[in-house]
Symmetry: C2
Subunit: 136 residues, 2 copies
């Protein structure tokens, strides 16, 4: 199985400094303001949210495929809550599933397992991950 | 404290499908091959690695600033290991610190606390995070 590489650099002190997070061809700048206020740039929490949404969507498709369904589209939004600590307390996954011949009851059953077992959800063991999913 | 948003979509089945992870202005495509083989594109593990490296570098700078040091640069590489399961088992953080007047002993002491307490490390509670850091 693969090993994935990423990098980050932080230049300077906490409030006056700035940094960048990198992987593949991507480089995203971040600052104190982009992390804890409303400044321009990204922050680690956005990356965690995208990773969890991406992992869940792919894992749910995999599980549905195994059960004999042919998923057309799984679309997921992640809201990552960072609170005093600072601590990432909660991630809200809001998802829609376009899957022919699937009932809502079966979707809820499979999606709950996908939410718990996708690799990024398992890694984020101290975070309360909430899922809201519906058929479209 | 802010709530951060990100999105992902997966179109189709596991092996034939493809998806994209999005946050801010970024959109990164991913496939089965880019996740578990060597195909072009990104994967959730790269985002998790960048988030952990970014969080640690910024948190270490914050802790050093609090202790009265003036950090110039913290540079960190993350290697994210995904193994059978699939499970994210280990993240190796390899870091260098350019900080005037700091001894190696003090760096090791503060960096160990930063590794354990940065929000992304705390969130990744089931992952074995290893740190190797030196002064430059």
């Amino acid at each position: 199985m693969p090993v994935r590489n990423a990098q980050a650099v932080w230049n300077g002190t906490l409030r006056e400094g700035s940094g960048a997070m990198k992987y593949g061809a991507y480089e995203g700048k971040y600052t104190f303001a982009s992390r804890f206020e409303n400044g321009e740039g990204t922050n680690p929490e956005e990356l965690v949210g995208a990773a969890n949404a991406g992992c869940f969507s792919m894992f749910l498709s995999a599980m549905l495929t195994k059960e004999g369904f042919k998923p057309i589209k799984i679309a997921t939004t992640a809201k990552v809550h960072i609170e005093d600590g600072p601590t990432i307390t909660t991630i809200e996954l809001d998802s829609t599933a376009d899957v022919p011949d699937l009932t809502d009851a079966k979707l809820q059953e499979i999606a709950a397992v996908a939410k718990a077992n996708c690799p990024v959800s398992k890694a984020l063991a101290s975070v309360n991950i909430k899922l809201n999913i519906k058929l479209v």
